[in-house]
Symmetry: C2
Subunit: 288 residues, 2 copies
């Protein structure tokens, strides 16, 4: 009948919308996408709340077993739950594609995602440039395309939202090579790691091009956000060097590099500052 | 006790989250901000759904009567409802400020807003540049700062979300001058009007600077979105010239100017195209 793609919002089982909850209750089968983001509660809490079994859909399943997920969807409703908003991730594009091929209507139910909830830090959403992703560096792989994007945003004085890497159900190179389905523990990038990687790349770029205007430095004002929308949400503003030392607690973390702030934005961000004197020294603020 | 600022999402009374609904039910007084956006249902439907009276808070009230809204909030809960997400608009900044002064805790409850729900058009949220606002032109006032912002986005191949003007409870110049509290009917900018204003400015800029690369032209691919998240949502892609002639029906409308599209983005957008041949001729698509 229908494939519902339902956004769960950011925190716990009660962030689903009333419309979304009604849709879940109408479904024969309920899948939870659990590899691009997480709630603060496990699937057991969702199951109790919905009064239904919830099947964890990992990347393998979503990418390779769309037909299993969509089985009988011509005659029963199926729910595919996504943390945040259905369109925040592209991971279920194939699933939607397959449903369309099978003439199964796809109904998305929207919700908050970090892309709009980040507004809570005081930097207005319409003053952001392109969003960047920061992935875990390895010894041999340090993708740094975020630097050029931040440079473009900063040149036109815009803020940059940095989405931090999540590694769920990854195999070690050894296990991958041997075809062993043994998975590493989940890893969620902390703001500290993100800042350290940002500064590593800034140093490398400064060494390579000493005359270029840097996209950002350790004195750039940024805002770290942990567990947005949760009761224990933590928002701290400061220079990158300051934020590298702040303990933000458990996942999920996000980071915003501030461009030039309107004075009304600066007023809100300053209230989150770890060191207000340092904030006043380093913030770029416009008075109109 | 608490001032809740609760996002209502985009469509009707059931787009509130379960958490938001519980918060409303705990409140002694419930206000609805009704001048920066609207739902498809009136306050009566909300009142029935909540089992509570809902007071419409217009701009005057929010800006001048914060203390009325916050009356007794030290001892009872108060809800301030906002269409979309609490941080999409800045209109209630003063209210939050006043609550903070009075030591009343402010608890925001997130929801979807057009800033993330626009992802449904197939253009990925992380490929957007700065969001612009398009306001109703008058004979003598044609603010065109959107042009330069779109130019910056388009130069780095990003998409641009255009938020379209809403005029609620505005007074005519005559009534304003005479101090008569008589208000004009609400006006919501259509995609057609937005396109017409965009093209008017493009023509003016091209005449003034004939050698400059235009930020966009009537052949630029764009996506019009009406009533996002509602059952009768309408999404149509085409050149600006094509979209100017499409009937999108009732409010609210939004418009996205496409930058260079990834081929997977283009595939989704093409499915919305009013004329697929024209889309293929004008779309800028990258293959990687």
């Amino acid at each position: 009948m229908v494939l519902y793609i339902i956004g769960l919002g950011l925190s716990d089982e009660k962030d689903i919308t009333v419309k979304g909850l009604e849709a879940v209750k109408s479904c024969e089968r309920v899948y939870l996408e659990a590899y691009t983001s997480i709630l603060t509660v496990g699937k057991e809490r969702l199951e109790v709340f919905y009064g239904k079994e919830v099947v964890i859909a990992d990347r393998e399943m979503v990418e390779q077993e769309a037909d299993v997920i969509l089985k009988d969807a011509a005659t029963v409703n199926v729910a595919f739950l996504v943390v945040g908003d259905p369109f925040g991730a592209t991971t279920h594009t194939d699933l939607v594609h397959r449903a369309t091929e099978l003439s199964i209507p796809v109904v998305p139910i929207h919700n908050a995602s970090i892309m709009n909830a980040v507004g809570c830090c005081g930097l207005q959403l319409y003053n952001y440039g392109q969003t960047v992703s920061i992935v875990f560096f390895t010894e041999t792989w340090k993708p740094d395309s975020f630097y050029d994007k931040i440079a473009m945003n900063s040149r036109i004085e815009l803020h940059t939202l940095c989405l931090l890497d999540i590694k769920v159900k990854e195999q070690s190179i050894e296990n991958l090579a041997r075809g062993r389905k043994i998975y590493e523990p989940a890893r969620y990038m902390s703001i500290n790691t993100a800042v350290s990687q940002l500064l590593e790349i800034a140093d490398a770029r400064a060494a390579a091009e000493p005359d270029a205007v840097p996209a950002y430095t350790k004195y750039t004002i940024a805002v770290g956000l942990a567990r947005v929308g949760c009761d224990d949400q933590k928002v701290v503003a400061g220079t990158l060097a300051e934020l590298e030392k702040v303990d933000f607690g458990g996942p999920l973390h996000s980071l915003v590099l501030a461009g030039r702030m309107h004075f009304l934005e600066a007023e809100v961000v300053r209230a989150f500052a770890v060191d207000k004197e340092s904030f006043d020294r380093h913030a770029q603020v416009s008075q109109h």
